[in-house]
């Protein structure tokens, strides 16, 4: 799936043109407060610009209804949030199922991130690193054309960071991965690394 931002104006930044080809692995870097998370939300259709076009496969999402955007996002994108955003009253397994995965697939992905024993634990009882791995497992289970990840390894030690990044990049080569991260350990996985300053008009 191809993504494009054109002539974007927001309260935080302006972008003249950002094109992300299908299957591209793009790392977005930049100091805090420059709008990296907002950029991911813009690409996911969670935030609408004051003006400009957000194109998903050449379709301007402003022409789609809210239901169509939601449906499109559900069927094409998976997201890992900066704040992890797991539902605290659900177990690790149920949080993965929330993304649409079956119980079996959810357990499989949980096993892959090394949390097989934690499937019935409520996420509020997990450590930050474990929660991060549950969030990663949820996106793995969704296995969509586009993965938007916001600092997915920030709370992980070297071993887990390596393991999780490997899992994220083990998917289909057609999957586009757009990641916001300060973590130098993940840079080697990307085909393009850009700084927010370069993107901003």
């Amino acid at each position: 799936m191809e993504l494009r931002l054109r002539n974007i104006k927001t309260a935080f930044f302006n972008i003249k043109d950002l094109h992300i080809a299908s299957g591209e692995r793009l790392l977005i870097k930049g100091p805090s407060g420059t709008g990296k998370t907002t950029l991911l939300h813009l690409l996911a259709g969670l935030y609408l610009p004051s003006s400009g076009e957000v194109l998903w496969d050449k379709t301007d999402i402003s022409t789609l209804s809210e239901n169509q955007v939601s449906h499109f996002r559900k069927s094409k994108m998976s997201l890992i949030f900066q704040n992890l955003n797991l539902l605290p009253y659900l177990t690790a397994l149920e949080n993965i199922e929330l993304g649409g995965a079956s119980g079996q697939l959810a357990q499989e992905k949980l096993n892959q991130v090394g949390l097989a024993e934690k499937s019935v634990a409520r996420t509020q009882s997990l450590s930050l690193g474990e929660q991060q791995r549950v969030a990663v497992a949820r996106s793995l289970a969704q296995s969509q054309e586009v993965l938007l990840a916001d600092e997915p390894t920030s709370s992980l030690d070297d071993v887990n960071a390596e393991q999780v990044t490997n899992l994220l990049f083990n998917g289909s080569s057609k999957q586009s991965i757009i990641m916001v991260s300060h973590d130098h350990r993940v840079e080697k996985f990307f085909t393009r690394i850009v700084d927010m300053k370069e993107i901003m008009a």
Partner: protein, 412 residues
């Protein structure tokens, strides 16, 4: 994960809040239902109250008690008045007292019917009377024979229109009844009554009566354990009268001041009852209104609080691809879960609470029957409560539609 499971998990994992919400809603719905039942019952008596004659004579008690006892068969077995008084008035004889006072003129009785209430049978009232019952005035809604005849012989009974269908009897059937007397809970042994006639439907309390002749009724009370009266078995509970206009004061003075009986003028007592019920109804409606308002506000507050606490959750779900429509469904499903369980709880609470409250109100209300409080009214109440609870989900949904996901997800 489907929305039913998600909503169920949310309610289950927030058990304390869910239980408190359901308890408060359930009790509120039950209270509203009980008050509504009281309101319906107090209103229904005006529909079933017989409208024959213009006065009733009964033992000394409240005029409203006499009215409701005689014309709506409400309350316990009433106290007795001597049959002699009835006979004298019926014969239009001069009435003489020990102090030599005599009454004859000043009033004219055009109709008189004796009533002796002597028991209850499955919600139907056993009444001893005579054939004048079939000639009450005005004739509209007055008892009229449909089949058979008035019971002339001992052990015969004429049944009200509701009885044959309720008890599957017909002319020729036997029923076994017990007699009861005033002021006692002891019943006589069972004795048979043979159905010899059926009345046409009147839509009034007459449909709920089983009528035998006076001799049968008086014999039955005479053999009931504990019965004792200075008049022997020759007693009545009431007699229904039609007095010519102009003679009421003179007649009332005679009955109330010189006899053991008391007269109740039907229109006057009806009017008093309506005033009393009217003010009670206003109070009940006010309480129902306050309760409904409180319940609605509670539900709204609960739903708003829930959605306030769930802004992040709902934003995450939106980001995961759940549309606003999906989340609206989710909130409605939760509303239905809460509503359905609350209504089930309300039904149980109402079943427990209702008899106590009706007992506290006492004999001033008619018994609950499927006629005066049909089951569909409970179903309608439940449905209304469910709709109200679901509608209470709407304002939170409006809030959901205005949610800024980007800001929420960034925890700003």
């Amino acid at each position: 994960m489907n929305l039913f499971r998600l909503s169920f998990l949310y309610l289950k994992r927030h058990l304390f809040t869910t239980v408190v919400t359901i308890l408060s809603l359930g009790i509120a719905i039950a209270a509203v239902t009980v008050l509504m039942k009281l309101e319906v019952l107090s209103h229904s008596r005006f529909d079933t109250l017989a409208n024959q004659g213009n006065a009733i004579v009964g033992a000394k008690s409240g005029g409203i008690d006499i009215l409701l006892g005689a014309l709506n068969f409400e309350g316990d077995i009433p106290n007795y008045v001597p049959q002699n008084l009835y006979e004298t008035l019926k014969a239009k004889k001069e009435i003489s007292f020990e102090d030599q006072t005599k009454f004859k003129d000043g009033f004219s009785i055009t109709h008189i019917t004796p009533i002796l209430v002597f028991g209850k049978y499955k919600g139907f009232t056993l009444v001893g009377t005579d054939e004048s019952l079939l000639n009450l005035t005005p004739s509209e809604n007055a008892p009229q024979l449909d089949k058979g005849s008035f019971p002339q012989n001992p052990g015969e009974v004429l049944v009200g229109a509701s009885f044959p269908s309720a008890e599957a009897v017909e002319v020729g059937s036997n029923i076994y009844v017990h007699a009861n007397i005033h002021g006692s809970t002891v019943s006589s042994s069972a004795f048979p009554l043979k159905v010899v006639g059926i009345l046409k439907p009147t839509g009034k309390a007459w449909d709920q009566g089983l009528y035998t002749n006076l001799a049968t009724a008086q014999t039955a009370i005479a053999v009931t354990p504990g019965y004792s009266s200075i008049w022997g078995p020759k007693v009545l509970s009431y007699f229904l009268l039609n007095i010519e206009i102009g003679g009421e004061d003179s007649f009332a003075s005679l009955i109330n001041q010189r006899t053991v009986a008391q007269i109740a003028f039907i229109e006057k007592e009806k009017s008093r009852l309506q005033d009393l019920t009217g003010s009670n109804q206003s109070l009940q409606l006010l309480i129902v209104g306050i309760l409904l308002a409180l319940s609605t506000l509670t539900v709204l507050a609960v739903f708003f609080t829930r959605i306030e606490a769930r802004t992040m959750e709902l934003a995450v779900l939106r980001a995961l691809g759940y549309s606003r429509r999906d989340l609206t469904r989710l909130l409605f499903i939760e509303g239905i879960w809460i509503g359905a369980i609350s209504i089930a709880l309300a039904a149980i609470v109402e079943l427990i609470l209702s008899p106590f409250i009706l007992k506290t109100v006492g004999s001033t209300l008619p018994l609950v029957t499927s006629t005066n409080f049909p089951p569909w009214m409970i179903a309608v109440t439940g449905a209304c409560a469910l709709v109200a609870i679901i509608l209470a989900s709407l304002p939170p949904v409006w809030k959901l539609y205005r949610q800024d996901i980007h800001t929420t997800l960034r925890n700003i």
